[in-house]
Amino acid sequence: MHTKFKIAGAAVIGRNHESKGIPLQDKVFSFRSKNQKEAIIALADGAGSCAYSHIGAEIVTSKIGNIILNNFEDIFKDLDWAKSFIYEKLLKFLQEYTLSKNVNLNELASTLLFSVVKEKKKEVEYIAGHIGDGIIIKYEDGNVKILSYPDNYEFSNYTFFVTSNDTLEHFRIYRGKFVSDEGFILISDGTAKSLYKKTDKSLAPACNLIFKWCDSYRQNTVSKVLKSNLQNIFRLNTFDDCSIAILKRMKKRI
C-alpha cells in the first residue's frame, strides 16, 4: 500500500530538569490508522513547577486525537463551538485523574499543540490547535511557514496552559485541506530556541530539512534521527526540555 502519511516524534529532557532530578515534562504522541486515512500528532509541554505536569501532558496528547477524530465533521464545520467542546472534553479527562489521585487540576498544567488529518474521498482535511507556547509549522509547496505562533503573555517564562483560567481565550484552532504533499511540525518552546528567530519571526533552514527526511527515510528512522539531534544539538541551546513531532503527506509514486 502506498504510504499516505508519515509520522514521527521525539522528546528529550532539558538541563534544568536533569540537574534537579525532575522528569521529562514534554510529551509527544503520534498515530496513523491501519488504512492510513487518518493520522494524529500531538505535543505538550508540562508546566515547570507542577508536580504532575508530565502526567497532564501525557493525558492531553493521548486523548486529543480521538476527541478530534470522533467529531471531525462537526469540529471542521464550526471552530468556535469546537473550542469549547474540545476544552471541556480535555478537562474531563484531566479531572478524572485529579479525582482518582487526589491532586489539584493545576498540578496537571501543560501546553498543547496538535494536528489531525483525515482523508475523505481522496481529499485530505486537517484540524490543528494550539494552547500556549511552542509553534505549529506548516509545509506546503516545498516551503515552511508558521501556522501558529507562541503565546507567551509578556515574559519568557510565562505561558498559557490547558488548565489556565482563561484558556478558551487563548485556544487557537485551524482547519484546511491539503492540496499536495503538505505537512506539519509541532515544536515545544525549548526546540523553538533553535528553530525560530524571534527578531523577525522566521524559521531555520533545518525545518525544511526535517520534512525532506520524511521523503527519504522510514518514519521510525526519522524519529530516531530527531531524538539524536534534540539530544546532541538542540538541547545545548536551552535549559528546557525539547520535543518535536512531524506529520507529512507523501506524494504517490507513479
Binding site: R15, A47, G48, N157, L195, S202, W213, V225
Partner: protein, 241 residues
C-alpha cells in the same frame, strides 16, 4: 550517523539570551551619612551607611559577573534618591560596566521615594520596549527599594498604586527594604501588596546583596510554569524578623 542526518549549526537559529532587568532604587539622602547631631556633639556611625551600601552594591555586581549564566542575562540599573531622583547607571550588559559609587546628595535634602520609583518605572518601561523592538525575550523585572527614612512629600501615594497593580498582575517583583529604625514600614508596604517589607539587620548590605544575587541566579534558567522559591533561610542572615 549519516552526516546528512545531523543538523548543522548553520541551519539553526541563534537567539539572543533572554534578559532579566534589576533596578536598585537606593536612598542617598543625608541621613545615610550615619551622622547623628546631638546639638554640640555629632556622632558618626562606623561604617557609614553609604559606604556599607556601596560595598554591598559592588558585591552584587561582582557576584552576577562571576555567574556564568546570569552574567549574560541580568542587566542592572541604579537609581539614587533623596529629595530628587537620578539615574546613576542605566541598563546595559554587565560585562563592561563600571560599577557606580553612590554619593550622598547633600544638595537636595529630603526623601522622595515616589519620585525615585516613578523614574524607575520609566526606566524599566524603556528597557522593555528596547527588548521588544530587538526581539529579545525577557523575564519579569525586579525592583529593589531601600530607604532609611520617611518620605518628605506625597509622591509615593500615586505611584504606589501603579506599582501595586503591576505586582498584582505579575508584571513586576519588588523587594522593599528598610534601613535602620527611621524607615517608614507603612509607606514601604504601600508598594508591596504581596511581600512584607523587611528591615535590614544593622548595615548587613553585603549579606543582603549576596542573597539577592543568589536569588536572581536561577531566573535565566527558568522555564514556563516554574516557580523559583526565595531562600527564606538565607533571609534570616540579613534581616530583623
Amino acid at each position: 550517523m549519516n552526516d546528512n542526518l545531523i543538523i548543522k549549526q548553520k541551519d539553526l537559529i541563534e537567539n539572543p539570551t533572554p534578559r532579566v532587568a534589576v533596578c536598585l532604587v537606593l536612598d542617598c539622602s543625608p541621613s545615610m551619612s550615619g551622622e547623628v547631631n546631638y546639638g554640640s556633639i555629632i556622632q558618626q556611625t562606623n561604617p557609614r551607611p553609604i559606604n556599607a551600601l556601596n560595598e554591598g552594591v559592588r558585591c552584587f555586581f561582582a557576584a552576577v559577573k562571576e555567574d556564568e549564566i546570569a552574567k549574560y542575562s541580568v542587566e542592572i540599573a541604579v537609581v539614587s534618591f533623596s529629595g530628587k531622583a537620578k539615574i546613576v547607571l542605566d541598563f546595559q550588559s554587565i560585562e563592561n560596566v563600571d560599577i557606580p559609587t553612590l554619593e550622598l546628595d547633600m544638595e537636595h535634602g529630603g526623601t522622595s521615594i515616589g519620585t525615585a520609583v516613578k523614574l524607575t518605572l520609566e526606566l524599566l518601561n524603556k528597557r522593555k520596549n528596547e527588548y521588544k523592538e530587538a526581539g529579545v525575550d525577557y523575564y519579569q523585572p525586579w525592583l529593589v527599594l531601600m530607604t532609611d527614612g520617611q518620605p518628605t512629600d506625597d509622591t509615593h501615594k500615586d505611584v504606589s498604586k501603579t506599582v501595586r497593580e503591576l505586582i498584582n498582575t505579575e508584571k513586576l517583583t519588588i523587594f522593599p527594604i528598610a534601613i535602620g529604625d527611621g524607615a517608614d514600614m507603612e509607606v514601604l508596604s504601600m508598594f508591596s501588596p504581596k511581600r512584607t517589607p523587611l528591615k535590614l539587620k544593622g548595615l548587613k548590605f553585603n549579606d543582603f546583596f549576596e542573597w539577592l544575587s543568589q536569588s536572581i541566579s536561577p531566573i535565566p534558567q527558568s522555564i514556563p510554569g516554574e516557580v523559583i522559591p526565595l531562600n527564606k533561610d538565607g533571609i534570616k542572615g540579613w534581616t530583623e524578623l
